[in-house]
């Protein structure tokens, strides 16, 4: 990268984040919690229907669905608290997970294309999900969920600047 490191002016770094890393904005808490709710509530409900069918526990489906939703929300909260990102001269890095920690780094020279996604709730809260695609196989799409919309756009612009430079196939 010949140009100077893309310095991004960013919101005040959260105390929760390790130094040099950015946490997700507070507005992202609700969407983060809602994302895993359905994937957990549905199996709970299905399990509840099985129980209801076998043992005749009519109240099992709603109760288990609620339990699933609560577990999902709790996991979402955990995800929200343990997701950090940073952009430095080496490219974009995303840190996720607390028990199983994983830090993924996409060098700016390896970005193939970028997606910016905004759901209705995200639009209302000025959030966006950035997906960085590389030509790789196992980590070909690196997702940063529920970023501040302005940060996301800035990240997208800075990372896509590199793609134009790469002309020769």
């Amino acid at each position: 990268m010949s140009e100077s490191p893309p310095a991004v002016e960013l919101p005040a770094v959260d105390q929760r984040a390790p130094s040099g890393w950015h946490a997700l904005p507070d507005r992202a808490r609700l969407p983060s919690m809602l994302t895993p709710v359905l994937p957990f509530a549905l199996p709970g409900m299905v399990g509840g229907f099985v129980l209801a069918g076998v043992f005749g526990l009519w109240f099992a489906p709603p109760v288990l669905a609620l339990v699933g939703a609560a577990v999902g929300a709790w996991i979402g909260l955990k995800h929200y608290r343990s997701t950090f990102w940073r952009l430095d001269e080496d490219g974009l890095a995303v840190r996720r997970g607390r028990l199983w920690q994983r830090e993924t780094r996409v060098p700016a020279t390896r970005v193939q294309h970028l997606d910016l996604k905004r759901g209705p709730l995200q639009r209302q809260r000025r959030l966006a999900t950035l997906v960085v695609h590389t030509a790789g196989t196992r980590h070909s799409a690196v997702t940063v969920p529920h970023l501040d919309a302005d940060d996301a756009e800035r990240l997208r612009d800075l990372l896509s600047r590199q793609i134009d430079a790469d002309d020769d196939a």
Partner: protein, 501 residues
Amino acid sequence: MPDPAAPLPEATPDATVAAERRLHPMSWLFVLVQQLKQFILPLIVLLVFGRGDRNELWPLIGVAVLVVLSLWQYFTYRYGVAGDRLVIRSGLFERSLRVIPFARIHNVALQQSALHRVFGVAEVRLESAGGSKPEAQMRVLKLDDALALEALVRHRGAAPASAVSEPESATLLALPFGEIVRLGLVSNRGMVVVVATFVAIAQISQRAILNAFQSVGKWLFGFAGEHHFGIAQYIVSALAMLVFAVVLLRAFSILLALLQYYGFRLSEIGRRLTVERGLLARWRTSASRRRIQAWTLHEGTLHRLLKRRSLDVDTAVAEEQQQQRALRELAPIATPAACDALIEHLLPRAGWSQLDWRALPATNWWRLVLPTIPVVAAITIAASWRVGAWGLLVLAWLPWAAFVAYRRAQRMAYAANPEVIAVREGWWTRHWRFAELDKLQALQLTRSPLDRRCGTATLHLDTAGSGALSPQLRVRFLPHDEALALYASLSRTLTSRPLRW
């Protein structure tokens, strides 16, 4: 993209294309054969079951429609070269114009089935990175035209007429007959055939396999009605069946290896690698050396017995299963020295033979046993359920698994230099996986709770085109500070080097 030194003026796709060419006049036949392959079942069903109705002509009408479609394709398909790109026109009502810059073509595959060879033609596929379909598929071209097209891609469209400048083709590896027999011996290709045969026989007659079993016994012992069959005889005939099955399997494997790899030749023209192989059907694949994304050197148990290894590469060409079109096997089987020489030749700057292998701490060997334990436990429980206390014998597997894990942990190592990163794993079956740093796409550092407890981390390195079945390029059990240093230095290196693939 446009090359400033290109001799031709920059041609827009609509500009006149020098000498448009067509497919081979017989190409309609092969398109028809291809389409018939898809429709063969319905057609047979119609032929067989349509009898008695007055619909016997339907299949013929279907074939006639397909013939017309095939001819249609022949008359509307043209290709030509415009500067540094290939232009393909097809269709009459729904016209399509496809422009493929030569620089984007990663792989050229020529395929000749036995029928193709009768007519002296070949099917050509041009592939770029990614995507599930070839960029262009020409069914079929005259063999000379196909080779000329391949040469065009090699020269990136710059007039191939000057045969003087054509570098000599140098053979890097050729497999004589004996090597192909060895390849058949180590491969399990025959398994598919044998298993399919068994299943088919079992489908036809439930008793057939049992009868075969007994007749083998009779043949072995010369006498014996069923009442004479003692347990010893059963065991011996079971063993005989097993030996027979293994021999059959290997024989089929050798046969398949001969069909697929007869006349295997890896050659190099300039920077391009070409693989030719096949007995009846012939394959010819060629790709530029720098399109290789990652390398796998493999040594199984049988390989080691025969003192051989195999060298595979990944290219970024998306490949569906069973389609042998991408350049994949550089050396299906070769001596370790030949493999090393090949790597040295193709990756001259990597210093493959002088790599500084750094062992990973073998104290983590017990973590390699962990995945086996639930499996062994499940089998033990199932076995104890069926045969009582004898089922506990399954637990005897654990010491062996521990031993294997220990040896594996001792052999695990990685090597990194400014050009290449390599990982060595396995003991019973071994592999070396490596990639040039330029070809790495993303890095991931993971730590499980166990990793944190042991002070280690795993570094995953992602490359393009690595199949789900090929071993991962990852360094496990890396001490945490070492992992952080490697991770940081790799991300620094990747940033300073543009992607070349």
